[in-house]
Amino acid sequence: MSILSHNIKAFLLVTASVLISVFFGNLIENFKTLIYLAFGAKILCLLLWGVYVVPGILVAKSFQYLFFSNFDPTLDIALSLAMIATFTPVMTMYMMRISNAGNLFKLEAINFRHIIFFIIISSMLSAVLKHIYMLSDIEFAHHAAIVMLEALFGQLFGGLLFVYVATKYAPHIHRFASKIKFV
């Protein structure tokens, strides 16, 4: 039951971050490409609730690629990109654990330096794998490199910003929200 509730929370968190990105993307030019908050939300869900929230993240990412992407992907492309985006951080988590680079599966044992390392490696791997999938169809190599660079830095900044804000201000936000009385 708790796994189901965690999956629903992960879905809502990732979807909310996508909606925030879309909202600010309409107001500020290049916000969505340079600060990709959904990446940070995904990382935070995996750190908080473990790999059991993969289905929730997968559904949220598919939803994002189908309805909120700049291009018009077909269902198979949207699902493939969602799978790459979901499983790359999980792969990095396992890679870090088996090589004794840090255990991100236990919340008590997590060091913030390991999270920074995890975000850097995940963003690089995710940008490479997602764009390798699409590069074969792109004729203009210069444009492909720009898109990939934007995606890389967007994921890096978005991931670091989201996780930093969430870990630093989440207790204050929770305390503030608990004081509000909805009459």
């Binding site: 890679m95 870090m96 088996i98 090589s99 004794n100 680079a101 840090g102 060091n111 330096r113 390991h114 920074i116 390392f117 850097i120 490696i121 690089m124 791997l125 490479v128 390798i132 590069l135 074969s136 792109i138 203009f140 190599a141 210069h142 492909a144 490199a145 720009i146 990939m148 660079l149 890389l152």
Partner: protein
């Protein structure tokens, strides 16, 4: 006698076994700052031998030397591994270093190559040859060098 004809070498695709990257990271970890001028010199000389374009020559030579520094610094600064020598590190740690190093090296080359000028080469072929080539080459070189050091009691294996 010329073993490899430089005119037949194309920079548009990489080698599937790029051993020099392993040599660069090995030298950086073993010799530190003192080995940097030598690394830079040999990297430039090899690029001149392949008769590359001047801009690409300088960029790729610098990336070959800087990428190992960045990758090992990332591990050291974030307290993942120390990488003082290869004696105390496990095979999986070395493999992880090679993956990170290959990501830094191939992505930097990819961005410099395609962002500075609009080349007509295929980006897919570029990344899918450079990235695995860097990982395999670096890993094979380091493991071979570690084996030689262990067998002949060299470096940190002396005691």
């Amino acid at each position: 006698m010329e073993l490899i004809n430089p005119e037949k070498i194309s920079i548009k695709i990489g080698s599937y076994l790029y051993l020099p990257l392993g040599a660069y990271v090995f030298c950086w970890i073993i010799y530190g700052n003192q080995g940097l001028p030598g690394q830079l010199l040999i990297s430039l000389l090899m690029s001149i031998y392949w008769s590359l374009d001047y801009n690409i020559l300088v960029q790729f030579s610098l990336i070959n030397v800087i990428a190992p520094i960045l990758a090992t610094s990332l591990f050291r600064e974030l307290a993942i591994y120390k990488f003082k020598d290869f004696k105390s590190e496990t095979v999986l740690a070395i493999l992880f270093l090679c993956i990170v190093l290959a990501l830094f090296n191939s992505l930097s080359k990819f961005f410099f190559y395609f962002l500075t000028e609009n080349h007509e080469s295929n980006p897919f072929a570029f990344l899918t040859t450079y990235l695995p080539g860097d990982i395999i080459g670096a890993f094979v070189f380091i493991m071979f060098a570690k084996f030689i050091m262990k067998t002949f009691h060299l470096g940190s294996y002396r005691t």
